[in-house]
């Protein structure tokens, strides 16, 4: 009998601690539920361990704190921010959205999700109709969804230029710099086999030859689990092209560091998502020089207007770990959350989604530097047609892809990492702080 | 000394128990010191060598490596022990680099005995040294076992089904039945016991007849 009881007691110990834990969880839930009665709840959805996700979260945190410090919103209500982690996984993203919507009943959601994750939770957003601002994904397919079904997509806003606009301006860079200045005529495209890689590759390849006069010799798609890029670089060299155009988001540090380690004797430029952050240099252990990448604005090396600079100063004073500098989506979240709150003030809250959305569309923040338009946070009108691409971008941030970029900020800039670890914006000329440079081993 | 018993009488289990390979109750003493429950490593270190019934050789190792593995606990006297084994079994010296898996039954028995000798034991347990071997090889093995006892001064403990083989070789016999000792004593005296002779030694030399009821596993020895 004695031996039979002892596991029971041990078990009871577990059960007691389990109950304690459960009670704590319930108390925590009750506490937050109590807060909900008086406050505005903002949910964050994104990866809590990625730089981009954290940029959005921190941008939103600073905006929320500033709003709370200035007396709250909607008649003095305090804002609370509730994070939900996606781990960059689609299913986890859906669960996170459900958690924010159902368990926390948030009023507004700011997202730092990657394309696939956003696509996963969008059906939930349509179901719950919670005003949602996406600061990271740039997938044009989502804007197409807004065009197809404006009623269902009413709560959705994306305050980053869509990838198609990024690609269009990048073609200009190809024409002006790669072809015009460097005299390159042909390219080999090195693209990762992911959704993002596929989208950008398609957009760029379609336009490079007819618009910029650069022939696409070959497209090499690679598996993102690739260990050794030596054969791939050999293949690229054998294509006989003048330079490599890289499209990489998942393991872009690997590609660029192997490029540097192997001293591949061809220039490489393109989209290198990790090189958009200031931590890139440290992450690659310094093996990332000579690389250039397009980046949405604002980016590393980008001169900042006073308002955005103040945000960066606050950020740096507050957060000591990575990302040391907010990525572009940190800025988007900071300005975007404030705009969403302003729209809610005008619409009398977040409950009437149509009213909130029509007020959100009216938001227009123009930030100037040295007396000229520098950054602009506003949205395209529903029926407004962008003259160059000839299409509409409802609920997407207003961008300008035609010189002299006095209508809005450009959809992207090209940034350059030099071999000494410094960075500069090299295109468009209006925003340039440095020159396009090749790695020292490329003749 | 030999332990005689039918298949399943508990001979192998007894040896495994002595080695500490299986869990046992009671006490096992070697030269007055208890080795009960201390495991095979201790048993080997204390001076017990074991040549098991199925040999448990290392099939893809050479003959030489099989022997050397036996020297795990006695590394200081490898050369000397190897020489002894090669003197006893010259054939193992010839087949030094052959893989154990390709050796004949008799050779395997020799490797098994040789490997046990490599640990320089004081007591050698030999389980079924003649099972499945040709009579000529049996005689060879018997001779080498005698030499181990007489020339090397080892105590050799044999487990045998073949009582005739055992009685010729051993000074003392122990008869085991279903895990219990049925009889024990000097070989010559036991050979006079009519009941035992009819049960274990049979009519034809080398022959063996299993008794009904002896086949139940007899692990309950204490």
């Amino acid at each position: 009998m004695k031996s039979a009881t002892s596991p029971g007691i041990r078990f009871l110990g577990i059960r007691f601690s389990g109950t304690r834990f459960f009670t704590a969880a319930l108390l925590a839930a009750a506490f937050t539920a109590h807060q909900a009665a008086a406050d505005i709840k903002v949910g964050f959805i994104g990866s809590l361990s990625s730089d981009t996700g954290r940029s959005t979260l921190r941008g939103a945190e600073i905006a929320v704190d500033e709003l709370n410090a200035s007396g709250g919103v909607l008649g003095g209500q305090k804002i609370v921010l509730i994070p939900a982690d996606t781990g960059e996984d689609v299913t986890e993203g859906i669960k996170a959205y459900e958690y924010l919507a159902e368990s926390e009943e948030v009023d507004f959601i700011v997202s730092g999700s990657i394309d696939d994750v956003s696509l996963g939770w969008i059906p939930r957003m349509r179901e719950y109709r919670i005003p949602t601002l996406d600061t990271w994904t740039s997938y044009i397919g989502i804007i197409d969804m807004v065009i197809e079904d404006p009623e269902a997509m009413m709560p959705y806003f994306m305050n980053i230029a869509s990838d198609e606009a990024l690609a269009t301006l990048y073609i200009d860079f190809g024409k002006d710099v790669l072809k015009g200045q460097m005299g390159w005529n042909s390219v080999v495209i090195l693209a990762e086999d992911t959704a993002f890689g596929g989208a950008i590759t398609g957009l760029v390849t379609d336009a490079l030859a007819p618009e910029a006069g650069i022939e696409v010799k070959e497209i090499i798609k690679y598996d993102i689990a690739t260990v050794d890029f030596a054969p791939i670089f050999s293949k690229a060299q054998n294509s006989g092209a003048d330079f490599i155009y890289l499209v990489s988001s998942v393991n872009s540090q690997v590609v660029s560091s192997q490029y540097v380690k192997l001293q591949v004797p061809m220039a490489m430029t393109g989209v290198n998502v990790s090189a958009m952050g200031a931590d890139y240099w440290e992450d690659t252990g310094g093996a990332g020089g000579g690389m250039s990448t397009l980046s949405p604005v604002p980016s590393v090396g980008f001169k900042l207007d006073p308002v955005s600079q103040a945000f960066v100063d606050t950020y740096r004073a507050r957060y000591k770990d990575r990302p040391v500098m907010p990525h572009f989506n940190g800025f988007n979240a900071y300005h975007g959350v404030k705009q969403a709150m302003a729209a809610a003030e005008a619409a009398g809250g977040f409950d009437d989604v149509d009213a909130w959305a029509s007020n959100m569309k009216q938001q227009d923040l123009v930030l100037e530097l040295d007396g000229q338009l520098w950054l602009r946070y506003g949205f395209w009108g529903d029926d407004e047609v962008e003259p160059r691409t000839g299409r509409k971008y409802p609920h997407n941030i207003r961008f300008d892809i035609t010189e002299p970029y006095d209508e809005a900020s450009p959809s992207m800039v090209v940034i350059q990492w030099y071999e000494d670890g410094t960075t500069a914006v090299i295109y468009p000329k209006k925003y340039a702080t440095g020159e396009f440079a090749l790695p020292s081993w490329v003749k | 000394m030999a332990i005689v018993g039918a298949n399943g009488a508990g001979k192998s289990t007894l040896f495994d128990g002595v080695m500490g390979l299986v869990h046992t109750r009671g006490d096992i003493r070697l030269a007055g010191e208890s080795i009960q429950g201390k495991g095979p490593t201790f048993a080997v270190g204390a001076g017990i060598g074991y040549a098991s019934e199925r040999f448990n050789l290392f099939p893809y190792m050479s003959v030489r490596d099989n022997l050397l593995t036996g020297a795990w606990t006695a590394r200081k006297s490898i050369e000397e022990n190897l020489l002894r084994v090669h003197t006893l079994f010259p054939r193992l010296a010839e087949r030094e680099s052959q893989e154990a898996a390709t050796c004949s039954g008799g050779e395997r028995q020799m490797i098994s005995l040789g490997r046990a000798l490599m640990s320089a034991p004081k007591l050698l347990l030999v389980d079924e040294p003649t099972i499945g071997l040709a009579p000529k090889i049996c005689a060879e093995i018997a001779q080498s076992l005698q030499r181990m006892r007489d020339e090397m001064g080892l105590t050799v403990l044999i487990a045998e089904q073949n009582a005739n083989f055992a009685i010729r070789l051993a000074e003392r016999l122990l008869i085991l039945e279903s895990g219990h000792i049925r009889a024990g004593g000097q070989s010559e005296e036991l050979a006079k016991d009519e009941g035992l002779v009819s049960a274990y030694f049979g009519k034809d030399a080398g022959g063996f007849e299993a008794k009904e009821g002896v086949k139940s596993p007899g692990a309950a020895w204490t």
Partner: protein
Amino acid sequence: MLLQILIQGFLLSGLYALIAVGFTLIFGIGRILNLAHGSYLMAGGYAFFWIGQIIGLPKIIGVALAVFLGAGMGIAIYRLIVRPLKGDRIAVEIATLILAVILQAAIVLIFGSSSKIPHPLVPGVVRIADTPIAWSILVATCASWIILLSLYAFIRLSHTGRAMQAVSMDPKGAAICGIDSNRIDIIVWSISGGLGALAGVFFAGYTQLSPSMWVTPLIISVAVVIVGGIGSIMGTLAVAHIIGFMEVIVTTLIAPELRGVFTMGLIIVALLFRPRGLFGREEI
């Protein structure tokens, strides 16, 4: 082109052999698949990065720490998972798989989820037959070969090595020779962990450090053991070269994005048609 494939194939295969050899040893000794094997590589790579790029100590200390950490992890996995589960193979596989997922979360907690590139062991690049080869990779390959051959010699010639073979081929036979299989198991688990962690330092030199980096080496190890058969070192070397060359050939001549498809296909075909592997023999 052919020469390039040859050179790149050899370089990659050497690394793959080192990645898989520890996994093979464990499989050889207890027929256990340690699905946390990839975690050694992750731990080793991150330890190297931590010492070199966060603490700022010499790289060699990083390598040493990585090896010690890996060996320690090996012993810990043996003591805390394999022993309590009494060598139940399926249970060990499931438990080590769960462990790998936990360690991945631990890495995210400590280092974050963004990828990191450790400094190369040896900087610079050398050109052989018009193929650029990073010194660090050349060094890693040579080191892998030296380690594998010394390991082979160790197993063939030393007492401990023979004891390892003995335990692998016939545990009872080993026991009656007085070999303490527990001690041998600990030795093998620590060797496996140490080599895994070292392979992690080299592997990270090729690619990057990321919390999910354990999956690829695990799949390589599984492929090597499955295609090669029960843990033989020579079989490991041979199959590592089959897989390494296959990857380079697929990447260069067929389609880079199909790299993984071919490796998986090889595992499945090998398992279905030759379940004991190409070199299936009970030895290490």
